[in-house]
Symmetry: C2
Subunit: 294 residues, 2 copies
Amino acid sequence: MVPIINLPATGAEARIAARNNTYTTSTSGIANTFLQANLIVLPSRFASDFRLLCLRNPVPCPLLAESARVGCFDELKSWLPGIEDSRIAAGIDIRRDAPRYMVYEDGELKKFQCADIVEEWSEDHVAFLIGCSYSFENALTAAGLPPRHAVMGRNVPMYRTRLPLCPAGIFTGATYVVSMRMYKRSEVETVRDVTRPYVATHGEPIAWGWEAVKELGIEDIHVPEWGDAPLTLEGKHLSEEDKDMVPVFWGCGVTPQEAVMKAKLPGVVLGHAPGHMIVVDVREWEVLEEKNPN
Amino acid sequence: MVPIINLPATGAEARIAARNNTYTTSTSGIANTFLQANLIVLPSRFASDFRLLCLRNPVPCPLLAESARVGCFDELKSWLPGIEDSRIAAGIDIRRDAPRYMVYEDGELKKFQCADIVEEWSEDHVAFLIGCSYSFENALTAAGLPPRHAVMGRNVPMYRTRLPLCPAGIFTGATYVVSMRMYKRSEVETVRDVTRPYVATHGEPIAWGWEAVKELGIEDIHVPEWGDAPLTLEGKHLSEEDKDMVPVFWGCGVTPQEAVMKAKLPGVVLGHAPGHMIVVDVREWEVLEEKNPN
């Protein structure tokens, strides 16, 4: 008999399961309709520049929330218009509520997929939560356009590009990271329409078509920097000769992590392990479309 | 005797003078410390995509306010966190309060520098006010770094680039327009610091140095698409061989107008004449730094 595994169904359940180390794997597909978030934790003197980097580049770096105060790991300040601070993730412990973490010191990886960052967290740290594309993938599936990597049980391919971010203070020279999903050329406008309202989680694609590969400066579409290589449904390499299928590129939550690494910040920088997100209490439908801030 | 001309000293004075046609020229240098705004007026069916274009590209397209309702020319909805709707521009008449206007029909220029748009405004129009770089120029001058074009009584040079905007709905294929100011290489970090807080008016530069000219895809630095050609203080052409002086590029408020023109929208599109801005009631110091929306 196959044991029945109770997957976390809500943001609160996902955080408690991660805190208790009863859930330690990728959060892809769990707690459906609850927003998932990328985590970046920085020494406080870099917080102002990083906040500005996100606000100047909201498509790859959609800022959801940050520590309520310097050193604070259990209260958040919301950056989502209309969503109060306390509504983001009640009772959160930023140091323990992602299933797995990464630890960097002076720009070098020190710990890989560790269970928590209780020891590394200091009174000088500030945490930032950034939107994640898992949300609009649910919407694509619901619209009859499931991303191929999900259908095949693979990870989404992600690529470095040469498209520059708008710099902010210490964060200069950074470029977009993009995620890629293959669609029929005739489906692209529907794919754009379906993902457009997801403004807090990258929104509509930034580029599409084979010509975009060159324009973005992606060296080899078959060799993504993160995630799994894209394949046809028959398990073969993609071919540009298949003119009907085209790559579609979205801003990716790995972008701010790359910007932080590129800035070679001194001191201890912390983050979630890719794919192992912090799940929050906010539902997808609460952050559709841009809300007026007043 | 030279007649004493009373230049408008506040946003309200500037709007009334423009409305009465007693002020009909460029608003550069008037109503010091009051924010000036680019104006774009679109048929309502394009408003949602245009709003999203601005929110996805806040550096070249910083959204300050929009019509309170479709067809409304005398009330605004604020997009500035913490600034109430009624505080943007009390008693505004969007159709008459810029010194000069432009009228486009089906993507073609129909009227150049006309006095108002009372006839052209319809019940289906929506107006958008976008931040302008005049604000941070005051700050640069106050910091002892006056832009050279201002010192020489010339207009700032502006260039088309190949740097893509994040697309939004009908607005695809658009690229950044940038403004350029020359500075010593040793001054660039101070220039970045001085302009960084001006988040509602393009903020810090997006690129700098001679290498940026090529990276942005600017064809000829001596031939800007808008404004006056950049010159040395001796009135000569710039030279890349002068390694000490470098071009510094900012996102430019002409960007959203270019995006609208590129989209070839059907119907009547209205805007201010370049340089002839709508001056509002908000002071520069009220919009320094990004404010949390909640």
